[in-house]
Protein backbone atom coordinates (compact mmCIF):
# COMPACT_ATOMS: atom_id res chain seq x y z
CA UNK A 1 0.00 0.00 0.00
CA UNK A 2 0.93 3.64 -0.45
CA UNK A 3 0.15 6.15 2.26
CA UNK A 4 0.95 9.85 2.41
CA UNK A 5 0.28 11.44 5.82
CA UNK A 6 0.23 15.26 5.92
CA UNK A 7 3.12 15.51 3.47
CA UNK A 8 4.44 18.98 2.61
CA UNK A 9 6.82 19.58 -0.26
CA UNK A 10 8.52 22.90 -0.97
CA UNK A 11 10.45 23.42 -4.17
CA UNK A 12 11.41 27.05 -4.81
CA UNK A 13 8.26 29.13 -5.16
CA UNK A 14 6.11 25.98 -5.59
CA UNK A 15 4.74 24.20 -2.56
CA UNK A 16 2.26 21.52 -1.60
CA UNK A 17 1.10 21.47 2.01
CA UNK A 18 -0.31 18.66 4.12
CA UNK A 19 -1.18 16.28 1.33
CA UNK A 20 -2.73 12.98 2.38
CA UNK A 21 -3.50 9.99 0.20
CA UNK A 22 -3.95 6.27 0.72
CA UNK A 23 -3.93 3.48 -1.87
CA UNK A 24 -4.58 -0.04 -0.60
CA UNK A 25 -2.45 -3.03 -1.55
CA UNK A 26 -3.20 -4.28 -5.06
CA UNK A 27 -5.30 -1.26 -6.02
CA UNK A 28 -4.87 0.69 -9.23
CA UNK A 29 -5.30 4.39 -8.48
CA UNK A 30 -5.07 7.34 -10.81
CA UNK A 31 -4.15 10.85 -9.79
CA UNK A 32 -5.64 13.53 -12.01
CA UNK A 33 -5.44 17.28 -12.07
CA UNK A 34 -4.54 20.22 -14.26
CA UNK A 35 -0.99 20.87 -15.41
CA UNK A 36 1.20 22.55 -12.81
CA UNK A 37 -0.77 21.30 -9.81
CA UNK A 38 2.12 19.15 -8.57
CA UNK A 39 1.18 15.60 -9.59
CA UNK A 40 4.72 14.76 -10.74
CA UNK A 41 6.12 16.35 -7.58
CA UNK A 42 4.00 13.99 -5.48
CA UNK A 43 5.23 10.93 -7.43
CA UNK A 44 8.85 12.11 -7.09
CA UNK A 45 8.37 12.55 -3.35
CA UNK A 46 6.94 9.03 -3.04
CA UNK A 47 9.90 7.46 -4.83
CA UNK A 48 12.41 9.58 -2.91
CA UNK A 49 13.64 11.88 -5.66
CA UNK A 50 12.23 14.95 -3.90
CA UNK A 51 12.59 15.75 -0.23
CA UNK A 52 9.49 16.32 1.86
CA UNK A 53 9.62 19.06 4.48
CA UNK A 54 7.03 17.52 6.81
CA UNK A 55 4.85 14.43 6.99
CA UNK A 56 5.41 10.72 6.41
CA UNK A 57 5.39 8.41 3.41
CA UNK A 58 4.56 4.76 4.08
CA UNK A 59 5.02 1.85 1.69
CA UNK A 60 3.52 -1.44 2.93
CA UNK A 61 3.19 0.21 6.36
CA UNK A 62 6.92 0.94 6.53
CA UNK A 63 7.94 4.58 6.95
CA UNK A 64 10.27 5.27 4.00
CA UNK A 65 10.31 9.09 4.33
CA UNK A 66 14.02 9.30 5.11
CA UNK A 67 15.13 6.45 2.83
CA UNK A 68 17.05 6.87 -0.40
CA UNK A 69 15.12 6.05 -3.63
CA UNK A 70 16.87 2.71 -4.07
CA UNK A 71 15.80 1.52 -0.62
CA UNK A 72 12.06 2.06 -1.12
CA UNK A 73 11.29 -0.81 -3.50
CA UNK A 74 9.27 1.32 -5.89
CA UNK A 75 9.09 0.88 -9.67
CA UNK A 76 8.93 4.24 -11.43
CA UNK A 77 8.12 5.12 -15.03
CA UNK A 78 8.64 8.87 -15.68
CA UNK A 79 6.90 10.82 -18.40
CA UNK A 80 9.97 10.89 -20.66
CA UNK A 81 10.68 7.19 -19.85
CA UNK A 82 14.40 8.00 -19.33
CA UNK A 83 15.68 4.75 -20.84
CA UNK A 84 19.41 4.12 -20.48
CA UNK A 85 20.88 5.15 -23.86
CA UNK A 86 23.97 2.93 -23.62
CA UNK A 87 22.10 -0.30 -22.76
CA UNK A 88 20.08 -2.72 -24.82
CA UNK A 89 16.62 -3.97 -23.85
CA UNK A 90 17.91 -7.06 -22.02
CA UNK A 91 20.29 -4.93 -19.94
CA UNK A 92 17.35 -2.72 -18.94
CA UNK A 93 15.42 -5.71 -17.60
CA UNK A 94 18.50 -7.14 -15.87
CA UNK A 95 19.77 -3.87 -14.36
CA UNK A 96 17.88 -3.89 -11.04
CA UNK A 97 18.36 -7.66 -10.62
CA UNK A 98 22.13 -7.38 -11.02
CA UNK A 99 22.18 -4.57 -8.44
CA UNK A 100 20.49 -7.03 -6.10
CA UNK A 101 23.16 -9.66 -6.83
CA UNK A 102 20.66 -12.23 -8.12
CA UNK A 103 22.14 -15.42 -9.57
CA UNK A 104 22.68 -15.45 -13.33
CA UNK A 105 20.22 -18.32 -13.88
CA UNK A 106 17.56 -16.53 -11.87
CA UNK A 107 18.15 -13.27 -13.77
CA UNK A 108 17.76 -15.17 -17.05
CA UNK A 109 14.56 -16.83 -16.01
CA UNK A 110 12.99 -13.63 -14.59
CA UNK A 111 13.99 -11.61 -17.67
CA UNK A 112 12.54 -14.23 -20.05
CA UNK A 113 9.29 -14.38 -18.11
CA UNK A 114 8.93 -10.57 -17.97
CA UNK A 115 9.83 -10.04 -21.62
CA UNK A 116 7.27 -12.70 -22.61
CA UNK A 117 4.59 -11.01 -20.51
CA UNK A 118 5.37 -7.61 -22.08
CA UNK A 119 5.75 -8.98 -25.62
CA UNK A 120 9.31 -7.72 -26.05
CA UNK A 121 11.17 -11.05 -26.35
CA UNK A 122 12.18 -10.26 -29.93
CA UNK A 123 13.67 -6.92 -28.84
CA UNK A 124 15.99 -8.18 -26.10
CA UNK A 125 19.22 -7.66 -28.02
CA UNK A 126 18.12 -4.37 -29.59
CA UNK A 127 19.51 -0.99 -28.52
CA UNK A 128 16.83 1.29 -27.07
CA UNK A 129 17.77 4.06 -29.51
CA UNK A 130 15.73 2.71 -32.42
CA UNK A 131 12.61 1.52 -30.57
CA UNK A 132 9.12 2.82 -31.40
CA UNK A 133 7.06 4.72 -28.81
CA UNK A 134 5.05 1.64 -27.80
CA UNK A 135 8.16 -0.56 -27.59
CA UNK A 136 9.95 2.04 -25.44
CA UNK A 137 6.93 2.14 -23.09
CA UNK A 138 7.07 -1.62 -22.70
CA UNK A 139 10.79 -1.54 -21.93
CA UNK A 140 10.34 1.24 -19.35
CA UNK A 141 7.48 -0.69 -17.77
CA UNK A 142 9.55 -3.88 -17.78
CA UNK A 143 12.52 -2.12 -16.18
CA UNK A 144 10.26 -0.73 -13.42
CA UNK A 145 8.69 -4.14 -12.76
CA UNK A 146 11.88 -6.19 -13.16
CA UNK A 147 12.70 -6.39 -9.45
CA UNK A 148 9.09 -7.21 -8.53
CA UNK A 149 8.35 -4.02 -6.55
CA UNK A 150 5.26 -3.82 -4.39
CA UNK A 151 4.47 -0.34 -5.73
CA UNK A 152 4.47 1.01 -9.28
CA UNK A 153 4.38 4.75 -10.04
CA UNK A 154 3.49 5.88 -13.56
CA UNK A 155 3.82 9.53 -14.60
CA UNK A 156 1.74 10.09 -17.74
CA UNK A 157 3.69 7.45 -19.63
CA UNK A 158 1.25 7.18 -22.52
CA UNK A 159 0.70 10.86 -23.31
CA UNK A 160 2.84 10.75 -26.44
CA UNK A 161 1.32 7.57 -27.92
CA UNK A 162 -1.20 7.26 -30.72
CA UNK A 163 -4.71 6.06 -29.93
CA UNK A 164 -4.22 2.43 -31.05
CA UNK A 165 -0.91 1.96 -29.21
CA UNK A 166 -2.38 3.58 -26.11
CA UNK A 167 -5.28 1.10 -26.08
CA UNK A 168 -2.77 -1.71 -26.53
CA UNK A 169 -0.74 -0.41 -23.59
CA UNK A 170 -3.88 -0.09 -21.44
CA UNK A 171 -4.73 -3.75 -22.06
CA UNK A 172 -1.14 -4.79 -21.34
CA UNK A 173 -0.98 -2.71 -18.15
CA UNK A 174 -4.25 -4.23 -16.92
CA UNK A 175 -2.94 -7.75 -17.47
CA UNK A 176 0.47 -7.03 -15.95
CA UNK A 177 -0.79 -5.24 -12.83
CA UNK A 178 -3.40 -7.96 -12.27
CA UNK A 179 -0.91 -10.81 -12.60
CA UNK A 180 1.77 -9.13 -10.46
CA UNK A 181 -0.64 -7.68 -7.89
CA UNK A 182 1.44 -4.50 -7.77
CA UNK A 183 -0.11 -1.43 -6.10
CA UNK A 184 -0.21 1.27 -8.76
CA UNK A 185 -0.47 5.05 -8.69
CA UNK A 186 -0.81 6.46 -12.19
CA UNK A 187 -0.75 10.18 -12.99
CA UNK A 188 -2.82 11.03 -16.04
CA UNK A 189 -4.78 13.82 -17.69
CA UNK A 190 -7.04 11.43 -19.52
CA UNK A 191 -10.42 10.49 -18.08
CA UNK A 192 -10.62 7.67 -20.64
CA UNK A 193 -7.36 6.27 -19.32
CA UNK A 194 -8.62 6.52 -15.76
CA UNK A 195 -11.87 4.77 -16.74
CA UNK A 196 -10.02 2.01 -18.54
CA UNK A 197 -7.51 1.24 -15.82
CA UNK A 198 -8.31 2.52 -12.37
CA UNK A 199 -10.40 1.25 -9.53
CA UNK A 200 -9.77 4.44 -7.58
CA UNK A 201 -9.48 8.00 -8.72
CA UNK A 202 -7.93 10.99 -6.94
CA UNK A 203 -8.06 14.58 -8.13
CA UNK A 204 -5.47 17.19 -7.15
CA UNK A 205 -6.96 20.68 -7.16
CA UNK A 206 -5.36 23.77 -5.64
CA UNK A 207 -3.05 21.69 -3.49
CA UNK A 208 -5.79 19.43 -2.12
CA UNK A 209 -6.24 15.77 -3.04
CA UNK A 210 -9.87 14.76 -3.25
CA UNK A 211 -11.45 11.45 -4.01
CA UNK A 212 -14.77 11.78 -5.83
CA UNK A 213 -17.65 9.77 -4.32
CA UNK A 214 -17.81 6.07 -5.20
CA UNK A 215 -20.98 6.55 -7.28
CA UNK A 216 -19.24 9.25 -9.30
CA UNK A 217 -16.31 6.93 -9.87
CA UNK A 218 -18.65 4.16 -11.03
CA UNK A 219 -20.49 6.63 -13.26
CA UNK A 220 -17.17 7.65 -14.67
CA UNK A 221 -16.25 4.07 -15.34
CA UNK A 222 -19.54 3.28 -17.15
Amino acid sequence: MIELCDVSIVSGPFSLRQISLSVKAGEYAVLMGQTGQGKTTILEAICGLRKVTTGRILIRDIDVTGRSPGDRGIGYVPQDLALFPTMNVREHLEFALKLRHQKAAEINSLTSELSRMLGIEHLLSRSVQGLSGGESQRVALGRALSFQPSVLLLDEPFSALDEATRSEMHALLKTVTKSTGVTTLHVTHSSDEADALANRRFVLTQGVIEEPALQQQKDGAN
Binding site: C47, G48, L49, S68, P69, G70, R72, I74, G75, Y76, P78, D80, A82, L83, F84, P85, T86, F95, A96, L99, R100, R143, A144, S146, F147
Partner: protein, 283 residues
Protein backbone atom coordinates in the same frame (compact mmCIF):
# COMPACT_ATOMS: atom_id res chain seq x y z
CA UNK B 1 -10.69 40.45 -43.57
CA UNK B 2 -7.41 41.22 -45.41
CA UNK B 3 -5.78 38.41 -47.37
CA UNK B 4 -2.17 37.38 -47.87
CA UNK B 5 -0.73 38.51 -51.20
CA UNK B 6 0.86 35.48 -52.81
CA UNK B 7 1.42 37.42 -56.08
CA UNK B 8 0.08 34.57 -58.11
CA UNK B 9 -3.25 33.42 -59.43
CA UNK B 10 -2.53 29.87 -58.27
CA UNK B 11 -1.81 30.87 -54.67
CA UNK B 12 1.67 29.32 -54.92
CA UNK B 13 4.44 31.89 -54.31
CA UNK B 14 6.82 32.69 -57.19
CA UNK B 15 10.01 30.61 -57.35
CA UNK B 16 13.12 32.32 -55.92
CA UNK B 17 16.09 30.62 -57.55
CA UNK B 18 19.39 31.36 -55.90
CA UNK B 19 17.88 32.89 -52.80
CA UNK B 20 20.22 30.84 -50.59
CA UNK B 21 23.36 31.88 -52.47
CA UNK B 22 24.09 34.99 -50.31
CA UNK B 23 23.80 32.83 -47.18
CA UNK B 24 26.35 30.32 -48.44
CA UNK B 25 28.64 33.08 -49.73
CA UNK B 26 28.70 34.90 -46.37
CA UNK B 27 29.02 31.74 -44.25
CA UNK B 28 31.57 30.14 -46.55
CA UNK B 29 33.54 33.36 -46.91
CA UNK B 30 33.82 33.99 -43.19
CA UNK B 31 34.60 30.34 -42.40
CA UNK B 32 37.26 30.03 -45.07
CA UNK B 33 39.11 33.11 -43.71
CA UNK B 34 40.20 31.18 -40.61
CA UNK B 35 40.90 27.91 -42.41
CA UNK B 36 42.98 29.81 -44.98
CA UNK B 37 44.95 31.57 -42.24
CA UNK B 38 45.97 28.23 -40.68
CA UNK B 39 46.86 26.72 -44.06
CA UNK B 40 48.98 29.78 -44.92
CA UNK B 41 50.77 29.62 -41.55
CA UNK B 42 51.70 25.98 -42.09
CA UNK B 43 52.67 26.58 -45.71
CA UNK B 44 54.94 29.45 -44.68
CA UNK B 45 56.68 27.17 -42.13
CA UNK B 46 57.10 24.37 -44.67
CA UNK B 47 58.50 26.76 -47.29
CA UNK B 48 60.87 28.37 -44.79
CA UNK B 49 62.71 25.19 -43.77
CA UNK B 50 64.72 22.89 -46.00
CA UNK B 51 65.02 19.12 -45.84
CA UNK B 52 68.51 19.61 -44.44
CA UNK B 53 67.07 21.56 -41.49
CA UNK B 54 64.85 18.56 -40.77
CA UNK B 55 67.75 16.14 -41.08
CA UNK B 56 69.73 18.21 -38.61
CA UNK B 57 66.75 18.42 -36.25
CA UNK B 58 66.16 14.66 -36.39
CA UNK B 59 69.85 13.97 -35.73
CA UNK B 60 69.96 16.20 -32.65
CA UNK B 61 69.64 14.18 -29.39
CA UNK B 62 68.41 17.30 -27.55
CA UNK B 63 65.38 17.51 -29.85
CA UNK B 64 64.60 13.80 -29.48
CA UNK B 65 64.76 14.13 -25.72
CA UNK B 66 62.42 17.15 -25.80
CA UNK B 67 60.11 15.19 -28.12
CA UNK B 68 60.02 12.23 -25.73
CA UNK B 69 59.48 14.39 -22.63
CA UNK B 70 56.74 16.34 -24.43
CA UNK B 71 54.91 13.18 -25.48
CA UNK B 72 55.07 11.65 -21.99
CA UNK B 73 54.24 14.78 -19.96
CA UNK B 74 51.38 15.84 -22.24
CA UNK B 75 49.85 12.35 -22.06
CA UNK B 76 50.18 12.16 -18.26
CA UNK B 77 48.72 15.67 -17.88
CA UNK B 78 45.80 14.83 -20.18
CA UNK B 79 45.00 11.59 -18.30
CA UNK B 80 45.22 13.37 -14.92
CA UNK B 81 43.05 16.22 -16.24
CA UNK B 82 40.28 13.83 -17.35
CA UNK B 83 40.64 11.84 -14.10
CA UNK B 84 40.09 14.99 -11.99
CA UNK B 85 37.93 16.93 -14.46
CA UNK B 86 35.27 14.24 -14.80
CA UNK B 87 34.11 14.12 -11.16
CA UNK B 88 34.49 17.89 -10.75
CA UNK B 89 32.54 18.56 -13.95
CA UNK B 90 29.83 16.15 -12.75
CA UNK B 91 29.53 17.81 -9.32
CA UNK B 92 29.32 21.30 -10.86
CA UNK B 93 26.73 20.13 -13.38
CA UNK B 94 24.46 18.15 -11.05
CA UNK B 95 24.56 19.74 -7.61
CA UNK B 96 23.61 23.11 -6.18
CA UNK B 97 25.57 23.66 -2.96
CA UNK B 98 26.64 26.67 -0.90
CA UNK B 99 29.77 28.22 -2.36
CA UNK B 100 29.27 26.55 -5.75
CA UNK B 101 29.85 29.85 -7.56
CA UNK B 102 33.18 30.22 -5.75
CA UNK B 103 34.31 26.75 -6.89
CA UNK B 104 33.05 27.57 -10.37
CA UNK B 105 35.10 30.78 -10.48
CA UNK B 106 38.23 29.20 -8.99
CA UNK B 107 38.19 26.43 -11.59
CA UNK B 108 38.08 29.01 -14.40
CA UNK B 109 41.01 31.07 -13.05
CA UNK B 110 43.78 29.08 -14.84
CA UNK B 111 41.96 29.73 -18.12
CA UNK B 112 42.04 33.52 -17.75
CA UNK B 113 45.28 33.89 -15.80
CA UNK B 114 48.41 34.80 -17.84
CA UNK B 115 50.42 31.53 -18.08
CA UNK B 116 53.55 33.21 -16.74
CA UNK B 117 51.68 34.27 -13.59
CA UNK B 118 50.53 30.68 -13.09
CA UNK B 119 54.13 29.45 -13.28
CA UNK B 120 55.25 32.12 -10.85
CA UNK B 121 52.41 31.20 -8.47
CA UNK B 122 53.44 27.53 -8.58
CA UNK B 123 57.05 28.49 -7.85
CA UNK B 124 55.99 30.64 -4.90
CA UNK B 125 53.60 27.97 -3.54
CA UNK B 126 56.39 25.36 -3.47
CA UNK B 127 58.95 27.70 -1.93
CA UNK B 128 56.84 29.71 0.53
CA UNK B 129 57.99 29.13 4.07
CA UNK B 130 55.13 28.70 6.59
CA UNK B 131 56.39 28.53 10.18
CA UNK B 132 59.67 27.02 9.09
CA UNK B 133 57.99 24.44 6.83
CA UNK B 134 58.41 24.54 3.05
CA UNK B 135 56.64 22.27 0.59
CA UNK B 136 59.61 21.87 -1.77
CA UNK B 137 61.98 21.16 1.12
CA UNK B 138 59.57 18.58 2.57
CA UNK B 139 59.20 16.85 -0.82
CA UNK B 140 62.98 16.81 -1.35
CA UNK B 141 64.02 15.68 2.12
CA UNK B 142 61.08 13.65 3.47
CA UNK B 143 59.51 12.22 0.32
CA UNK B 144 62.75 12.08 -1.67
CA UNK B 145 61.16 13.57 -4.77
CA UNK B 146 61.94 17.26 -5.45
CA UNK B 147 59.52 18.92 -7.87
CA UNK B 148 60.77 22.39 -8.85
CA UNK B 149 63.00 22.32 -11.96
CA UNK B 150 62.40 18.55 -12.28
CA UNK B 151 60.12 16.64 -14.68
CA UNK B 152 57.15 16.50 -12.23
CA UNK B 153 57.11 20.32 -12.41
CA UNK B 154 56.50 20.09 -16.16
CA UNK B 155 53.45 17.88 -15.57
CA UNK B 156 52.13 20.06 -12.74
CA UNK B 157 52.50 23.24 -14.83
CA UNK B 158 50.69 21.60 -17.77
CA UNK B 159 48.03 20.02 -15.54
CA UNK B 160 47.19 23.34 -13.80
CA UNK B 161 45.93 24.80 -17.08
CA UNK B 162 44.81 21.66 -18.93
CA UNK B 163 42.59 20.46 -16.08
CA UNK B 164 40.58 23.70 -16.11
CA UNK B 165 39.71 23.03 -19.76
CA UNK B 166 38.89 19.40 -18.99
CA UNK B 167 36.52 20.48 -16.18
CA UNK B 168 34.77 22.92 -18.46
CA UNK B 169 34.35 20.28 -21.19
CA UNK B 170 33.10 17.62 -18.77
CA UNK B 171 30.65 20.03 -17.17
CA UNK B 172 29.09 20.82 -20.55
CA UNK B 173 29.04 17.07 -21.31
CA UNK B 174 27.09 16.25 -18.13
CA UNK B 175 24.81 19.28 -18.66
CA UNK B 176 23.73 17.63 -21.91
CA UNK B 177 23.02 14.24 -20.29
CA UNK B 178 19.46 13.86 -18.95
CA UNK B 179 19.73 13.66 -15.13
CA UNK B 180 16.32 11.95 -15.04
CA UNK B 181 18.02 8.78 -16.30
CA UNK B 182 20.23 8.69 -13.20
CA UNK B 183 17.15 9.39 -11.03
CA UNK B 184 15.41 6.34 -12.48
CA UNK B 185 18.54 4.25 -11.88
CA UNK B 186 18.44 5.33 -8.24
CA UNK B 187 14.82 4.18 -7.89
CA UNK B 188 15.96 0.79 -9.25
CA UNK B 189 18.46 0.36 -6.42
CA UNK B 190 21.56 2.38 -7.36
CA UNK B 191 23.25 4.65 -4.89
CA UNK B 192 24.61 7.94 -6.27
CA UNK B 193 28.03 6.40 -6.94
CA UNK B 194 26.55 3.50 -8.92
CA UNK B 195 24.30 5.88 -10.89
CA UNK B 196 27.38 7.94 -11.78
CA UNK B 197 29.56 4.97 -12.73
CA UNK B 198 26.98 2.78 -14.46
CA UNK B 199 24.66 5.33 -16.04
CA UNK B 200 26.25 8.79 -16.40
CA UNK B 201 29.84 7.81 -17.17
CA UNK B 202 29.09 5.43 -20.09
CA UNK B 203 27.12 8.28 -21.70
CA UNK B 204 30.01 10.71 -21.18
CA UNK B 205 32.65 8.84 -23.26
CA UNK B 206 32.53 11.29 -26.11
CA UNK B 207 32.99 14.20 -23.69
CA UNK B 208 35.88 12.43 -21.94
CA UNK B 209 37.67 11.95 -25.25
CA UNK B 210 37.07 15.63 -26.08
CA UNK B 211 38.31 16.68 -22.62
CA UNK B 212 41.42 14.51 -23.03
CA UNK B 213 42.08 15.94 -26.47
CA UNK B 214 41.74 19.54 -25.29
CA UNK B 215 43.88 18.86 -22.22
CA UNK B 216 46.58 17.21 -24.34
CA UNK B 217 46.58 20.06 -26.85
CA UNK B 218 46.74 22.68 -24.09
CA UNK B 219 49.64 20.82 -22.47
CA UNK B 220 51.53 20.73 -25.77
CA UNK B 221 51.15 24.48 -26.16
CA UNK B 222 52.11 25.27 -22.56
CA UNK B 223 55.30 27.27 -22.34
CA UNK B 224 55.35 30.13 -19.79
CA UNK B 225 54.63 28.17 -16.57
CA UNK B 226 57.00 25.37 -17.63
CA UNK B 227 59.85 27.80 -18.22
CA UNK B 228 59.30 29.50 -14.82
CA UNK B 229 58.49 26.43 -12.69
CA UNK B 230 60.38 23.60 -14.41
CA UNK B 231 63.11 25.51 -16.24
CA UNK B 232 64.51 24.34 -19.57
CA UNK B 233 67.30 21.95 -18.63
CA UNK B 234 68.37 19.98 -21.69
CA UNK B 235 67.45 16.28 -21.61
CA UNK B 236 65.62 16.82 -18.31
CA UNK B 237 62.83 19.39 -18.38
CA UNK B 238 63.06 20.74 -21.89
CA UNK B 239 59.89 20.21 -23.89
CA UNK B 240 59.33 21.09 -27.55
CA UNK B 241 57.70 24.46 -26.80
CA UNK B 242 60.71 25.54 -24.71
CA UNK B 243 63.05 24.19 -27.42
CA UNK B 244 61.42 26.51 -29.95
CA UNK B 245 61.91 29.45 -27.58
CA UNK B 246 65.54 28.55 -26.80
CA UNK B 247 66.44 28.08 -30.48
CA UNK B 248 64.75 31.35 -31.32
CA UNK B 249 66.56 33.21 -28.52
CA UNK B 250 69.98 32.15 -29.85
CA UNK B 251 69.06 33.04 -33.42
CA UNK B 252 68.66 29.48 -34.78
CA UNK B 253 65.49 30.29 -36.68
CA UNK B 254 65.66 27.27 -38.97
CA UNK B 255 65.95 24.88 -36.01
CA UNK B 256 63.01 26.61 -34.27
CA UNK B 257 60.79 26.27 -37.34
CA UNK B 258 61.81 22.62 -37.88
CA UNK B 259 60.85 21.81 -34.26
CA UNK B 260 57.60 23.76 -34.69
CA UNK B 261 56.69 21.60 -37.67
CA UNK B 262 57.54 18.49 -35.65
CA UNK B 263 55.06 19.74 -33.05
CA UNK B 264 52.43 20.18 -35.76
CA UNK B 265 52.96 16.60 -36.95
CA UNK B 266 52.86 15.28 -33.38
CA UNK B 267 49.66 17.22 -32.61
CA UNK B 268 47.92 16.06 -35.80
CA UNK B 269 48.85 12.40 -35.18
CA UNK B 270 47.71 12.44 -31.53
CA UNK B 271 44.46 14.30 -32.31
CA UNK B 272 43.67 11.83 -35.12
CA UNK B 273 44.34 8.85 -32.85
CA UNK B 274 42.12 10.32 -30.11
CA UNK B 275 39.38 11.02 -32.64
CA UNK B 276 39.57 7.44 -33.94
CA UNK B 277 39.46 6.05 -30.40
CA UNK B 278 36.46 8.30 -29.67
CA UNK B 279 34.64 7.18 -32.81
CA UNK B 280 35.24 3.52 -31.94
CA UNK B 281 34.08 3.92 -28.33
CA UNK B 282 30.91 5.76 -29.27
CA UNK B 283 30.12 3.58 -32.30
Amino acid sequence: MSSVDNSSATGIPAARPGSDVPFFLVMGGLSSCFVLLIVLLLLADVMFVSLDDFRVALATPQYWSAFRITLITCSVSAILSVWVGTPLGYVLSRYRFPGRWIVDTLVEIPIVLPPLVLGLSLLIMFHLRIGGWQLEEWLREEVGRPVTFQWPAVILAQFSVACAFAVRTMRVTFDQINPRVEDVARTLGCNRGQAFLQIALPQAWRGMIAAGTIAWARSLGEFGPILVFAGATQMKTEVLSTTVFLELSIGKLNGAVAVSLLMVVLAVVVLLVLRLVGARLTA
